[in-house]
């Protein structure tokens, strides 16, 4: 399954607004992050510390019931405030 993943902050600067990755059905957040890291190995570390959000909610561990209609985002460590 192909997912469009929104990118932000330094990842957006490096990779653009969206990255398209191939993942298994019902992927875990870690599988999505792994697919992004495989496509951008020099950003592996920051991708590793990022979280996945689905439809603007942070995800828990475990398989995610996501399809191509869902809004997926990779959220690097936040630094507001």
């Amino acid at each position: 399954m192909q997912l469009h993943v929104k990118l932000f902050a330094m990842l957006q600067e490096q990779l653009g607004d969206v990255i398209v990755v191939s993942v298994p059905e019902q992927p875990t957040a870690d599988q999505i992050k792994q697919a992004i890291a495989d496509a951008s190995p020099n950003l592996r570390q920051v991708i590793g510390t990022a979280r996945i959000a689905v439809n603007q909610e942070f995800t828990a561990s475990g398989p995610l019931d996501v399809g191509t209609d869902d809004e997926i985002a990779l959220i690097p460590p936040v630094s507001g405030g």
């Binding site: 932000f8 959000a53 690097p76 936040v78 405030g81």
Partner: protein, 133 residues
Amino acid sequence: MYYLNISDSPIDVDALYQKLKDPQYGGIVTFVGTVRQWTGDIETRFIDYSAYHPMAEKQLEKLAAPIEAKGARVVIAHRTGHLDLTDEAVFVGVAAAHRGDAFRWCEYLIDTLKKEVPIWKKETDTDAVRWGD
């Protein structure tokens, strides 16, 4: 009812403070985060903040709602875009009947905002550009 705002407009501290005033509250605690010049040996020139807007606003609602449910009022504003030294980046205000609650909840809100709300800073320091803090 809470007031939450994330935008490029300058933060009007006085206008936000006025939203917290109400005859039912006796104590108003506010936190304002401004752009600081020095962090150890690093000198900051300016900061650009960006946000994942709809999610950031949802996250703020999740923070504010339980505090309002305790009978307090919450006002939070975060600025995005280009900020110079001493510009306000964030305002968090809580009005409550009792001051201890207002202090506790205001600090909880800014602490949690800094962990759970998708906003990022890109700091242009005199020696380098740095993401995060």
